[in-house]
Amino acid sequence: MEKTTKVVDLEKVVIKFAGDSGDGMQLAGTQFTDTSALLGNDLATFPDFPAEIRAPQGTVAGVSGFQIHIGRIDINTPGDIADVLVAMNPAALKANKNWIKKGGAIIVNIDSFTNKDLEKAGYETSPLDDNSFEGFNIIQAPITKLTRETLKDSGLDGKSVGRSKNMFALGIVYWMFNRPMEQTEKFLQNKFAKKPELVAANIKVMHAGYNFANTIEALPSSYTVLSANLKAGTYRNVMGNQAIAWGFLAAAERAHKGLFLGSYPITPASDILHELAKHKNLGVKTFQAEDEIAGICAAIGASFTGALAITTTSGPGFALKAEALGLAVMTELPLVVVDVQRGGPSTGLPTKTEQSDLMQALYGRNGESPVIVLASSTPANCFDWAYMASKITLEHNTPVVLLSDGYLGNGAEPWRIKSIQDMPSIKPLLAMEGEEYQPYARDKKTLARKLALPGTKGLEHRLGGLEKEDITGNVSYDPENHEKMCYIRVEKIRRIAELIPKQEVFGGKEGDVLVVGWGGTHGSLYSAVDNLQKEGESISLCQFNYINPLPKNTADILNNYKTIVVCELNSGQFANYLRINFQGIIFNQYNKIQGFPFTTSELEAHFKSLLKK
């Protein structure tokens, strides 16, 4: 039955699955991702879903999407626009009409283009009947009808049959990209281990979709994307939030510390709590607190008692934690606060990405209250930055804020698995029994104070939020002491710059344009700069992960380019931070506050305009 269809080899391709939030598009996308990863493609993914669990059916607001970019070349973003769109209803088509490449393939479930469906999506007539999508390769697949037909003898109820539609769509896409279906079959067997009838039904529908695509004439060719040239090793897919959780697990084991998470559920950070809650076998204690404040306070209590203590949140929750974070600054206790940023202010855009909590992280507390601020920049390196945040906080006994974002947290990419022995050692700074102990005596080099843990004989002492006397840690209202302590707390963080690696630059060490970014924009900035470098342009990228303190060679880098443009998903917070730190240097800005990442094409267009000047 195999037809001889032309197989075209592609360097890279972007596929988007879109449908109602109940249509199972996230699952279809994840399955395609896992299969592609096992075939050795490099990839990046980006799920995009509404804040509501089940937004009104069939409306544009209720569209849930999953975009995946696979390639045999280095892939750094989930792709700007899709080569192939699966649209399960008119709303999904409408929501993505500007995000599909001219001439690309659109697979629509034609059964859901009734007048009622069109009306819900705000169409008066079907966009398939006019010239709205002229030049596109529209594949009208009767997905609902064929799914029902396939399962007519299965004995399943109508609801279960309806839910299998996503497998039909997945089958079509598997055929288009020449992918084997074994991985998904295995997945279904595990997922529905107790319901063999569902396993059989879903597999049957997926095969029906595959065969449908093979049979119809609408698809001119099937495509393949060969394995990427990745560094040798053992790989797996990781999502950013999962990688953060694992980074903490690795750090706790390496530091011989118990891991304690105090947290309160919040989008898009909850998956870190979920992931750590699974691993009690590794000694993790997770505490779902009554609110955001209790989450951080319990973590600080655990830190005082000797755990590697963390709290995870997003913008609004981070605001609630501000006072307690100030206490950790005053008492100089180790603590990592993870902020998986989302659109703000207030409740803002819970499921969309943004980088607008930078100022909150740096300055959002009462008093002179400096903290270390780090930012992860790819889903996979969330592992490394969670690990580094743990190392720094335990060795310097001062709190660290780790900034991630919704795009990194929910995004996935292949990760060359590390062993905890590959990571740098962690040496917590502790006082031991029998030692002469002064709670606020300091290490000469780092200015860090030692912790004495409850249960250690002879080292009983009191901590608190009132100003501390230098050395003794007793309560002190002395004016000179207060000023001195404020400067010590700043200096302690400044000195970390002496220990961290120098900032690196991608591209020439001097030139026309320096693109500056931080955190989660790395993929899109890198892709744009890489493309322009290949065209021979004099452009470099400087992407920061250490925000406070900044690496000590930062000024040297910034002085070597004619034009600097700071690109970020906010109105210019990092640019302003750089202006405070490097007065006299001109920082141009390129900003976006739409809840979405930068596209490579918009960045390239802007950088070209700067290069022309």
Partner: protein, 336 residues
């Protein structure tokens, strides 16, 4: 176990409460009670929030943490979960525990974490200089409500029982022996132990509990509840509490045919909270105020539940190290 005395628990910091403050007797009672407990000095931790009472940890020569306003239960929870071997004491006041910290307070009681909470109730804000608190009597005139409050006060015992607290006791700051006894009882109890201490603020709310604690009335105004003992009180030891229909009533033994046998016998371990609620609500002049351990029921603690899960998972887990976790699931090899 080395022998410890109250001096071992006294820190070198100058105590800075107002002269005559009820907090002094509570502090001394604590310093005397701790040596009586089977616990090493380094295993005690005192956690507080903000307010006059919350300066307490500075005066104890133990591990201590003076945290932020209202949040002490959350810190205490973190301490206990990180090291369940520690004896954790939370010191709080009516403003700290019931206003800004109300949420954490009820959740600590609900979870039944094995900590001891001492709530110094003086029905006023002291440290901020005299505003009404959530337990201030309705109508009280303060700086923040010069025309008298229109707030309905909380009943701490009702709140505790409503939040499923497993241990509720009440003391007065004028009775150090009773306090020592209740501190020991709280430490023995597995779960969140709440002790309300009626504490006098000499500056902003002086004598607010005089109807209970004044020398001339206290014999008739205080009922010491002891498990298994009849509820008898009074200067002459002839008053008792009976249940008349659905209400409590004060009676005199020897009058109207009442004998000792008719008097209610205290059962702190009774699961049904109805009688405990009624006893804890009693107030002069109609009733004596109930003191002692009013409710002490057995319930699994949050910390023991968490530890049991950790142990089970460690024994039955698929992997024992982080490296094994990182390599678990779908992986693939890329050849060099």
């Amino acid at each position: 176990m080395e022998h410890l005395t109250n001096k071992d628990f006294t820190s070198d910091q100058e105590v800075r409460w107002c002269p005559g403050c009820g907090d002094y007797t509570i502090l001394r009672a604590m310093q005397k009670a701790l040596p009586q407990l089977e616990k090493k000095k380094e295993d005690f931790v005192f956690i507080s929030g903000i307010g006059c009472s919350s300066r307490f940890p500075y005066y104890m020569n133990t591990y201590g943490f003076h945290t932020i306003h209202g949040r002490a239960p959350a810190f205490a929870t973190g301490v206990k979960l990180a090291n369940p071997n520690l004896s954790v004491w939370q010191i709080t006041g009516d403003g700290d525990a019931l206003a800004i910290g109300g949420n954490h307070f009820i959740h600590a009681l609900r979870r039944n974490i094995d900590i001891n909470i001492l709530l110094f109730n003086n029905e006023i804000y002291g440290l901020t200089k005299g505003q009404f608190s959530p337990t201030s009597q309705k109508g009280i005139k303060t700086k923040s409500n010069p025309h008298g409050t229109t707030d309905e006060p909380f009943s701490i015992s009702d709140l505790s029982i409503g939040a499923q607290g497993s241990f509720f006791a009440r003391a007065v700051d004028t009775n150090p022996k009773l306090m020592q006894q209740l501190f020991r009882g709280a430490e023995e109890h597995r779960g969140t132990s709440l002790i309300e201490i009626l504490q006098n603020c000499v500056i902003f709310n002086d004598k607010t509990f005089a109807s209970i604690t004044a020398k001339e009335v206290k014999a008739d105004a205080q009922l010491f509840l002891e498990d298994g003992k009849p509820m008898i009180f009074g200067a002459e030891g002839n008053k008792g509490i009976i249940l008349n229909g659905l209400k409590l009533e004060v009676v005199k033994i020897g009058e109207n045919g009442i004998t000792k046998k008719d008097i209610l016998v205290h059962d702190a371990k009774e699961e049904d909270p109805t009688l405990h609620t009624m006893l804890a609500r009693m107030r002069p002049p109609e009733f004596p105020a109930a003191l002692g351990i009013i409710r002490k029921v057995s319930r699994p603690t949050f910390n023991s539940g968490m530890l049991a899960q950790l142990e089970y998972e460690k024994t039955n887990a698929k992997f024992k190290t982080v490296d094994e976790l990182l390599k678990s699931g779908e992986t693939w090899e890329v050849e060099g």
